[in-house]
Every structure is written in structure tokens, then in C-alpha cells.
């Protein structure tokens, strides 16, 4: 008998198709329900920032805690921590952890946005602003960009004007706890208004430069600027 006229085979195929269709519909419904019940995202979408932009950039959903996003870890010990502030500055610095603590730490609350689509609102960071570090090192007028240097050669570039904003900092506490290893302990950069890969973890240096130098992800296809409100995800 020809396979094509076998009724058993025909029914089995019909049954398979019906089950596949049912599964697809159920998955879509579950996804829809999940989206509707995501009240954190809905609330954030209804809010506006002081600068007039919506609080939640397009394509983002709100979650409650930072997610670990990988990377080659650096030394998490505060004892061996050193931060170089160098490049286009009058007096290059090398600070240990005690040196950071001695520089009047500040606390800032900010929203952070990951390029993979999650955002965390009102993260509470304790650390030092880049502006304070730049003032201490004596920024030269030739400086135009900041390169954050992390463990294992990681770098991220940020325009100077944006790096000197009041909420851009090096941070060692998140939500009243020491920064966890997975989030770049002992110290990471925090650049809230750019996608979060710019906020280098396991920070080892801050280099001021006159010419832009695309960093690790920027040279691997991600956007050089990374503004979440313009969805500058890929270059």
C-alpha cells in the first residue's frame, strides 16, 4: 500500500499538527498573561524622568535585581584593589581601597538598563563620582573621552561629558551590601544612562583620552555610544 494513502499515518499527522497548534496557542496565552501581569514594567512605562524622557527606555522590562551577566572575573579582594586614574590628567593617581574611602563617598539612586532587555530601577550605589576623581587628578582640557578599564583587558568607552554626570561613579556598595563578586567586586563603574556594558565590572583603571577608543563590546558589534532611549544596541 502506498504510504500516502495510509489512513493511520494521515490521522497521526493530523493529531500531531493539532497538538502542535494547541501548544503554540497555550504558550502564546501564557506569554500574554505574563506580559499583562508584569506590573513593574507597566508602572515604569507610565513614569517620566526629570529630563522629560520616559523612565523606561523602549524594549526594556523591569526586574527586581541585577542579573549576573558573566565576564572574566577579576580579583574580588578589597585588600589587593588598586585603581589607576591616568591619561589626560595633570597628576595620575593610584588609589587603594582605603584611598577611595578617604575621598568622601556619596550615595546615588539610579536605574540601570542592560542591552539584553532588563532594567533595574532605583538601585542604590555607594562610591565616588568620576567627576570627583577627575578633579583630584586634574583633568586636562584635551580630555574628551573616558575609558573604563576592567579585569582581563576589558574596556568600555564613554564620552567625557556623560562620564562627568552626577550619577556616574565607581561603586563598591549596592543596596547597602558590599558589591558581590558576580557584579564586579570590589569596585565597578556605574554609568546609569548608557547600556550597562559601559559600566565596567572589576574596575582597575579610569583613563582619560583625547580620542575615542571603542572598547571590548564596541569592537564586537555593539553600539559605540549605547543610549538606551535611542535603542543604540548594535553598531
Amino acid at each position: 500500500m502506498d504510504d500516502r494513502s495510509d489512513p493511520c499515518r494521515s490521522i497521526a499527522r493530523r493529531e500531531f499538527l493539532m497538538r502542535a497548534a494547541s501548544g503554540t496557542v497555550l504558550t502564546a496565552l501564557a506569554g500574554g498573561l505574563y506580559a499583562i501581569s508584569d506590573h513593574l514594567t507597566s508602572e515604569a512605562k507610565a513614569q517620566t524622568r526629570d529630563d522629560g524622557r520616559p523612565r523606561l527606555p523602549p524594549g526594556q522590562r523591569v526586574i527586581e535585581q541585577l542579573k549576573p551577566m558573566g565576564g572574566v572575573p577579576g580579583d574580588p579582594s578589597r585588600a589587593s584593589f588598586r585603581l589607576k586614574v591616568h591619561g589626560e590628567v595633570e597628576s595620575p593617581l593610584e588609589l587603594d581601597f582605603a584611598g577611595l574611602l578617604a575621598m568622601s563617598p556619596v550615595t546615588r539612586r539610579s536605574d540601570v538598563h542592560c542591552v539584553t532587555g532588563w532594567s533595574v530601577l532605583d538601585a542604590k550605589w555607594k562610591g565616588l563620582t568620576i567627576k570627583a576623581l577627575a578633579e583630584r587628578a586634574g583633568l586636562r582640557p584635551s580630555a574628551r573621552h573616558v575609558i573604563f578599564e576592567g579585569a582581563a583587558g576589558y574596556t568600555a568607552n564613554v564620552r567625557l561629558r556623560e562620564a562627568l554626570a552626577d550619577d556616574v561613579m565607581v561603586a563598591w556598595e549596592l543596596d547597602d551590601h558590599p558589591l558581590r563578586r558576580q557584579h564586579g567586586a570590589p569596585v565597578r563603574a556605574v554609568v546609569p544612562d548608557l547600556y550597562f556594558w559601559k559600566s565596567s565590572k572589576w574596575l582597575t583603571g579610569i583613563r582619560f583620552v583625547s580620542r575615542d577608543q571603542p572598547g571590548y563590546w564596541e569592537t564586537r558589534g555593539y553600539h559605540n555610544h549605547a543610549d538606551p532611549w535611542k535603542e543604540e544596541r548594535y553598531g
Binding site: K67, V72, R78, A79, S80, Q182
Partner: protein, 202 residues
């Protein structure tokens, strides 16, 4: 022989049998065997890293908070660290014992850090345990080690090209390029093209 009957008509000369497919099958089979190990490593790592927003493919993170009831000395960091270590049941020597502030002691182990508030005996412990297989697979996939692995990775890429190319011509007829094969190859090429043209492109 013509005696006793009509002689058979002469047969057309036989075309020499094409051995190319036989060779292709043999190459496909053997390169396929060679590729098994690396395919598992690259495929599993690819799945793991594709979903990095949902889980950490390299480490399993943990944290806990507890209080040590024994009073902790404020003038002997090593002794305070030892008391907490014993209380927490942590084995091994600390990598670092560091007094962050007058009241805060940090004890670093290879895979965990203890942040101890000496006055209250409060401990915040956090750390990461590496996921052995998948971390090693990711390390290879992302070519973190560079050096000779670049050669192996290039070789694997060439083997994949050979497998794909030999696969195209391996079967004759309707299940090969003359039928189903062509349709499925077209489908495979169309998926990225449709994605690029509809969802997005660089």
C-alpha cells in the same frame, strides 16, 4: 553465439560508475566522527551563552547572612576571621584578611568573601562556585585562552564547511539536490535572509 536462436542485441557500453559519492560519504562520515566532541562543546556553550540574561553560564552564585554569637576581637583580624570561618564551617585558608574600616573586616577565600561587622558579629557571605563543564566549554567557545586553541577552532570551522559541502552532494535523486535536498537547503538559507530583511540587520 548465433546458433540455436536470435542473437541478443548489442548492449550499450556501460558508463564508468561515479565514485565521487562514495568518497563524499566516507569523508562525511569520518569528519562527522571527528566533529562530535567539539560540536557538543560549541553547541552546549552556545545555548548557555545565548541565554546569559536568564542564568549565569559560568558560575553558580550564593549568599547568606548570619550572626556569630561569640564576641569577635577588634584588635586581631586573623583571630576574628578564624572564629567566623569556624562558625561558618568554611575549609581552606583565606586569601586575604582586610580591615576595611574600624568595624568592618573582609575575609576573602577563593570562591567566597565574608564581610564581617565586628561589633555586631554580623556576617554577609557571598561567592560563586564555577560550573565545571559548561565554564570550560564557554572558555573554549569564546577562545579566552587564545594561543593554540585558535588553530583548533579554525580547524573545526573548516571541518563544518566540509561536512556541509559534502552533505549537499551525498545523496542522488529526489532526496538529494534534485528534490528534498534543494528545498531544505533553500529553507536553511532563507531563514537568516528573512530575519535580516524583516526583523533587523546591521
Amino acid at each position: 553465439m548465433a546458433d540455436g536462436g536470435i542473437p541478443e542485441p548489442p548492449r550499450p557500453p556501460r558508463r564508468p560508475k561515479l565514485k565521487l559519492r562514495k568518497w563524499l560519504r566516507a569523508l562525511h562520515r569520518d569528519f562527522g566522527y571527528v566533529a562530535v566532541g567539539l560540536t557538543f562543546i560549541y553547541a552546549l556553550s552556545g545555548l548557555a551563552v545565548n541565554h546569559i540574561a536568564d542564568w549565569d553560564p559560568n558560575f553558580e552564585s550564593f549568599e547568606r547572612e548570619y550572626t556569630v554569637s561569640t564576641p569577635l576581637p577588634t584588635d586581631d583580624d586573623a583571630a576574628a576571621a578564624a572564629i567566623v570561618q569556624q562558625h561558618a564551617g568554611i575549609e581552606g585558608e583565606p586569601v586575604d584578611v582586610y580591615r576595611v574600616t574600624d568595624d568592618l573586616l573582609e575575609v576573602t577565600f577563593e570562591h567566597r568573601t565574608l564581610h564581617i561587622t565586628l561589633g555586631e558579629g554580623k556576617v554577609f557571605e557571598e561567592g560563586q562556585e564555577p560550573r565545571l563543564f559548561i565554564r570550560a566549554a564557554n572558555w573554549l567557545h569564546l577562545n579566552r585562552g587564545k594561543k593554540a586553541w585558535t588553530w583548533f577552532a579554525d580547524g573545526y570551522a573548516v571541518v563544518l564547511l566540509l561536512l556541509a559541502t559534502s552533505g549537499i552532494f551525498m545523496l542522488p535523486g529526489r532526496k538529494g539536490l534534485a528534490g528534498r535536498g534543494a528545498i531544505l537547503i533553500g529553507l536553511g538559507i532563507a531563514v537568516p535572509l528573512v530575519y535580516l530583511s524583516t526583523v533587523g540587520s546591521p
